[in-house]
Every structure is written in structure tokens, then in C-alpha cells.
Symmetry: C2
């Protein structure tokens, strides 16, 4: 019998309890032993809940329980979750988490701590919800030099951009709708400003590099500037606007970036709509492989946490190795990385814009006579920034993904 403790009985935590209970039979088959929830840590009481008797209020009741083998950390946050995770690992209990904030901040330290205490720290659910992307990078695409990892990793913004695309509605309107439906939070900054996506791409890039990519250093632009007009231009260009989180290893240097992109029809990410997430991995031998699924939601995320529980349970008290060491890696290639840019300026700035870009522009016409929109040639970020500064104020700009 493998006993599991759960930290935090919120959305994902209750999902974990549901998966472990409802799927007990299939999990037993896969593990070769029963896996059972023994205790749930939460500050609240849950009168009437079928598992109310398992709820405890002191973390010691789980970390000091010698019968508990594995802990699922589904509290979120990086203060108590950090402290409690360390306590669990120091007690030799493997921890499976959905907490991207904690993984992005302290992942490799916790992996090393797990190793020192002969247990494991697993974080499949921290990125891409139910999509098994961490395990794919760690265990499957292992004979490839990974050239890029490009993802739609934030369901809220993808839902909003999809709505804007198909309904022509404006940003504020769609945000209100998304909040009403529970797809966006009341304080949606982490999603719409791209910080959630930055944390996730930092985790994926760290797994690829084996060293920590600091999410705070990932250049990050959100979708708050996207208007119905941008969407109209995208449609005209046979493209869609998607918030992409990228890691790319280019000859001019590796870089990570979160920004709204124009994605061409034909790119597999073009078709990833609504709350779906997808991650496109390019290897030098594999070519493209895409992993798509529900990037959030109670049960898909809980399914990923419980997949980690199964792996820990099967590992039989041995540390499951992870290549990510506690050392920072700087990705220096952002400024030199080249892209095509789409730019909109007020009609009065047309000649200034053409001059700033040395005439190397291709006009895009979506029927708005009060502005001038164009595609640049392939430019480095540094070049683009200086040309943009020369040009004066622009209405908006977007990078183009092939």
C-alpha cells in the first residue's frame, strides 16, 4: 500500500483526490500496489465532504507520518508551499506538484533536495496541465539536439484571442466575458501580461538546458495591446494572433521570449484554439512534434499530478533523476535573433516609417485609411528596436512566426 498526502484541498487538490479514488483500479494495475489518499492538509474544514475525515490542519501530521510515501503539493504560492515541500522531501517523501510558481523559483533546489533524501520532486503538471510535455522532453526526445520549444501555454489568453478572432470583439469586452465564465481571474495580470507563460517557458527551457532559465529575465509582452484591428489584419494575412512562449537555440544564440505573434496558417499552432494548449518541439533529427491538450482545469491537471504519483510509486523509494541542476544559464541570443515584424502606425507617419525601415517594407491593407500597416524584412530584435525608435510612436507591432 502506497499512502499519499495532499497539500491543499482546492481545485487541483480535490481533483487529485478524485483521480486517485475513482481510478484506484487502473492506478493499482499500473503501480502494482494500492495507492490511497491518507491525509489532506488544508486550513479550512470541509463539513459534508466525503473526505472530510482525512483533512488535517498541521503539516506535521503529514510530513511526520511514516506511512505516507508521496505528497501532492497543490497549494500554489511560493512561501508555505516552498517550506512544506522542503519538509516533505527532507522526510524522504516524494513530492508531485502542479505549482509552476514554486518550480520556476526553486525547482532545481528541490530536485537536489529530493536526491539527497532518496526521493523525487516531480512537476509534470506545472506546465501544460494535462499535456505530458515535461516527460516527453526528459524521457522521449533524448537523442535530439532540441532546436526550439514553442508553446501556447496559457489557456486564458488563448481563449480570449480565439474569441476576438472569431467574433471580432475587442479586448476589454472579451476579458469581461472570460472573467464571467471563470476562464480569467479577477486580477488577470499574470495571464494577460504574459507572466504565467514566462514561468512555464522558463521551466521548459530549464528542462531542455539542464540549468535554470530565470523567468524574470525572459523578455515578456502580453496581449493587452491587441485590438480588433490587429485581428482584422491577421485575418487578412491568413494568420492568427497567438501568445507564444518560446525557447529557441539559434546559431546567433539561444533565447526565450513571450510575446503575441502572427502565426501562419499551416503552422500546427495556428489551429490550437480556445482553452487548448499546445507545445511544438523541434529536434534536429525528430523534426516537429506537437503535444496538445487541456492546459488547465481541475481533472486534466490532477491527471498529470497523479501520473507523477504513479511514477514515484513505481520507483520504489528510489530517486528519479532529473538533469536540471541548480545553476543559472543566461540565454544571450534575444537581441540578435531575427524575425519578420508587422507594424501599424498612424497614416501621418507613413513616410517616417518607410524611411526608418529604409524602404524595406511591404504594405498590408485591411481597409483602414487612418493608418499604415506593413511587414518588415527579417530583422534582429536590436535592429527592429532602433528602427522603431527612429520612426516615432507606433500603434502596435507583432512578430511573425512562420
Amino acid at each position: 500500500m502506497i499512502n499519499v498526502g495532499v497539500f491543499g484541498y482546492g481545485t487541483v487538490g480535490s481533483g487529485v483526490v478524485e483521480v486517485l479514488t475513482k481510478n484506484a483500479e487502473v492506478i493499482k494495475k499500473n503501480v502494482g500496489d494500492d495507492v490511497k489518499v491518507k491525509a489532506i492538509l488544508d486550513l479550512r474544514e470541509f463539513p459534508g465532504d466525503p473526505f472530510e475525515k482525512l483533512v488535517v490542519h498541521e503539516v506535521e501530521e503529514i510530513v511526520n507520518d511514516p506511512e505516507i510515501d508521496i505528497v501532492c503539493e497543490t497549494m500554489g504560492g511560493a512561501t508555505y508551499a516552498y517550506k512544506y515541500t522542503k519538509m516533505a522531501l527532507e522526510a524522504g517523501k516524494s513530492v508531485c506538484t502542479s505549482n509552476k510558481e514554486l518550480v520556476a523559483l526553486h525547482g532545481p533546489e528541490l530536485i537536489a533536495l529530493a536526491k539527497a533524501h532518496n526521493c523525487s520532486y516531480k512537476f509534470e503538471a506545472s506546465t501544460g496541465g494535462g499535456i505530458p510535455i515535461i516527460r516527453a522532453l526528459e524521457s522521449s526526445v533524448t537523442a535530439d539536439h532540441i532546436l526550439s520549444v514553442v508553446g501556447i501555454v496559457n489557456g486564458t489568453t488563448n481563449y480570449m484571442l480565439t474569441k476576438m478572432t472569431y467574433e471580432g470583439s475587442d479586448f476589454d469586452e472579451v476579458l469581461k466575458e472570460a472573467q464571467a465564465l471563470g476562464y480569467a481571474e479577477l486580477h488577470p495580470e499574470a495571464d494577460i501580461e504574459g507572466h504565467d507563460a514566462a514561468r512555464k517557458i522558463a521551466i521548459l527551457a530549464s528542462v531542455v538546458c539542464g540549468k535554470t532559465v530565470d523567468f524574470a529575465k525572459v523578455p515578456t509582452e502580453g496581449i493587452t495591446n491587441i485590438t480588433a484591428r490587429d485581428i482584422k489584419y491577421a485575418d487578412k494575412l491568413n494568420m492568427k494572433i497567438k501568445l507564444l512562449a518560446k525557447y529557441e537555440d539559434r546559431p546567433t544564440g539561444a533565447f526565450a521570449l513571450v510575446a503575441p505573434y502572427l502565426v501562419k496558417k499551416g503552422n500546427p499552432l495556428y489551429n490550437v484554439d480556445d482553452v487548448y494548449n499546445a507545445i511544438l518541439v523541434r529536434g534536429n533529427m525528430l523534426d516537429d512534434a506537437m503535444f496538445m491538450g487541456r492546459g488547465a482545469g481541475k481533472l486534466p491537471t490532477a491527471s498529470a499530478v497523479c501520473g507523477d504519483v504513479v511514477e514515484c510509486a513505481k520507483s520504489n523509494g528510489k530517486h528519479i533523476p532529473c538533469n536540471w541542476v541548480d545553476e543559472e544559464i543566461n540565454l544571450p541570443g534575444y537581441k540578435a535573433s531575427k524575425k519578420v515584424f508587422f507594424v501599424r502606425v498612424g497614416a501621418e507617419l507613413k513616410q517616417d516609417a518607410i524611411d526608418a525601415f529604409d524602404g524595406e517594407v511591404t504594405e498590408v491593407d485591411a481597409g483602414y485609411f487612418d493608418e499604415y500597416a506593413f511587414m518588415t524584412t527579417e530583422l534582429s530584435e536590436a535592429d527592429f528596436a532602433s528602427k522603431k525608435a527612429k520612426m516615432g510612436t507606433c500603434l502596435n507591432y507583432l512578430r511573425v512566426e512562420k
Copy 2:
């Protein structure tokens, strides 16, 4: 140092040698040791080839070499490949294969043999080429009751159907083009009649069930009956025709099936075009996850073989468990499984058709006055077969995937 032997220096075999050589550094990082090709078994000579000195002609030179730890079986076929794989496993060498024929015929026997000799039999590359679907089913989606696995797993037919869809061309014409481009073989029966897809879904279903699903018992229909008119109807219906390979676990019984389907826009498989493969996995908690990539090709397939080599190399001479045991499982649910069917009959049979289906039909009009086409209500396979027999000859029929 881990030494690798390669059985068969054809397309995939030479790809394996290329991956292990060109990506030696990243593979070393992932394994923690050098991995090197020591010998290549092939009947032919390869004068001028950079690896010609590694070529041997007797299998004993590999299976009796105590320095060789892992064998990549990229010969194909099920006679010599079977014999040689057994010899390698009996000598305690793990075998990584791309040979779907052999895996579908003798997979669990070879897994058991590997276990008995403390080594492993790995077959990620046997299904979906570079897409890591076997490992996803075995190691990631392990806390879910898997409700269905639906795939586009044959690149040749998907390329042909895509061509027919976008160019309106007829089957024979597209087949000739595909043959000229090397996407279809001179003897294309295994692809176009669905047998290749049947082998692959049998392997996937066996991994899910943990017991052998006999590919020869999978009801299999190919795409040879698909005409430009079928494509026209599909377009009219906002659907595409795709050759689907399915495993479904329904309340009326589990079943496997290979057949051309009408796939609705909105289904993630709708957008999987050209030579791409994709597999959609539905779990009772995970919901849908899709895995997409190059289902064939020298380097993507070799990348998958080498991912298995990395896993074997890391396992340090221990057997990597696989749940698939050597026992057949019958999937009894085919006849009771319900679908909506699309049917075309000659115009003169219109009333017979309506009567046979008790009037429960919805006409589909694509502008062909010499025929009558319709959708049925949801019917079991058994019901459909008896109604179809009652109706007389039909021009064609297709199942509908939501």
C-alpha cells in the same frame, strides 16, 4: 562506454547510425556515458560509406560480442528479424526496434524474453514514427482510464487523402503521384488497404490493454473506394476524410477498427494533413491529449529508436518493465458500437434506401443528380450492416467521427 549494434543498414538503420554519431554529445549528456555504434549487420557491402568498416555479415558477430550492450533492429520483416532479435535478447542485449510487423506479431513474447534475460525490448518507433506515443501511454497517462486512442497513423494514405481534398483529384491519379514521390510504395496494398494502420492500432491497443490485440482480427477497411465525389461531399459537410485507426472502450464493449471516416471540423484530427501522423488519446480524467508529428521518415523514426537506446543505456542493464503480457484479449464491442454513417446510393435506389433506414435519414446534397446521399442516425455496426444489405448496392459509405 555503451556499444550499439545495428541490424539492417537500410533507411532507418542508416538514420540510427547518423543520429547516434551526429548527436553523440547530447546523447552522452543524457545517458551519462558515451554511446557508440560498434557493428552494423547487413548482407550488402557499403564501399565508400563512412561506416563501411563496421559492417558485418554474420549475426553472431553482434550477438556474441560481449562489448555490445544494445541492438537496434531496423531490418523489418518478421522472419530473420524475429530470429535475430531473440538471439540478441537471449544474449542479454536490449533491443530497440522500428519493426511494427514484428512487434504486432511477437511483441509480448519478446518483452517476456527480455525480462527473463535482464534486458529490455523497446518499440517506440514501431508506431507513429517520431511521435513518442508508446512512452506517453506507458509512462504518462497512467492515472487515467483510457477511453479511446484514435489515430492517423499512416502517412501515405493521409498524404493521398490530403491531395484529394485540396486538389479534387481522383484516387488512382494521386496514388501514381505519391508513388513517383516515394510516399507510396510500388506495392502499396499494406498502406491503402489499411493493414499497416491495423498493425499500429493493434500495438497501441495492446499497450493500453496490457494484453495482445491481434491485428488480424481488427476490422479493417482501406481508402481504395474513396473517390473525388466522396471528398466533395465531405467538403460540403465541413468535414475531411481521414483513415482513422481506433481503439475505443465503450460501455457496449471495447473495439478496434481501421476505416476511412468523415472527421468534423473542430476535431483536432481534422487539421492533421499531408504526411503528418497524430494520435488523440482520451482519458476519463485527462480529457483529450493529441500527439502529432512525422509518422515516418528516416531521421524522425531513427530519433525514436535512439530515444529508446538512451532509455536502455540509462537503465544500466536492468529490465525496463512493460505491462503488455503474452495473452490475447478479444475486443468484443465492434458490432454493438454505434456511429453515424454517411451513405451514397444511385438515384434509382433513393426510396429503397429511405425505406431500409426507416425514413431516418438526412439528405446531403453536393449537386450530383445521378445519386442520393444521406446521413443515418446513430446506428450500431450490426444494425447498419443489416439495413445496408436490405437497401441493395451502395456506391460508398463512411463512418462519421465527431
